[in-house]
């Protein structure tokens, strides 16, 4: 069996066709494989170094600088919001405190706090024109 054929004769032509067919499918298979691999790598955290990945917001970032978000607009919107409402928003979203707790602290009713919170959410949503985020 020759590794390189002259391309003449039925058998040689067939072999060339098959090799071409094989090469194409090898390329496609490789593309699929690497795509699947990179998908796995993207979702894996090998050690604690995920804390150092730039752009990833961790709890520390929130507590140290609560006004820094990767959405530039969000910071400006939050500045325009009333101080008390902003406090409710931060306390509920970042500190995960309940509305009941906040109501007792601020001297409001539970309903008053939730109303303030959802007012903020609506303001942010309107300003950013995105409604895909559910808080």
């Amino acid at each position: 069996m020759k590794f390189w054929n002259s391309g003449k004769g039925e058998s040689n032509i067939l072999q060339n066709q098959f090799t071409r067919y094989l090469k194409t499918s090898i390329q496609r298979k490789k593309v699929d494989l690497f795509r699947a691999r990179s998908k796995v790598y993207d979702h894996e955290c090998f050690d604690d170094s995920w804390q150092d990945i730039p752009g990833l917001i961790t709890v520390d970032v929130y507590f140290n600088s609560p006004a820094q978000f990767d959405t530039i607009g969000l910071e400006q919107i939050l500045r325009q919001i009333e101080k008390r409402d902003r406090y409710i928003f931060y306390a509920h979203v970042l500190d995960e405190r309940t509305f009941t707790e906040l109501a007792a602290e601020l001297g409001l009713t539970y309903k008053g706090v939730t109303a303030a919170y959802y007012r903020v959410i609506h303001k942010i949503r309107d300003a950013l024109r995105g409604d895909e985020y559910e808080f």
């Binding site: 590794f3 098959f18 090799t19 067919y21 094989l22 090469k23 090898i26 490789k30 494989l33």
Partner: protein, 60 residues
């Protein structure tokens, strides 16, 4: 035995013919299985499977 016979035999589930085709195309598969300058065993295995499916699907 020429290539056409070999391929037809392999398509008829002849184990020997398949092995012969595999050894014939092994250099190509080895070459393609080199990723970033390193021979990747997993890719090589996948490509061997690809060869077998190609044999099955190729219309003579």
């Amino acid at each position: 035995m020429n290539f056409k016979e070999l391929l037809l035999r392999a398509q008829a589930e002849d184990q020997q013919a398949k092995e012969k085709l595999l050894s014939l195309y092994q250099p190509l598969l080895m070459k393609e299985a080199v990723v970033n300058g390193v021979f990747d065993e997993d890719v090589y295995q996948e490509l061997c499977i690809t060869l077998l499916t190609c044999i099955k699907r190729f219309k003579v």
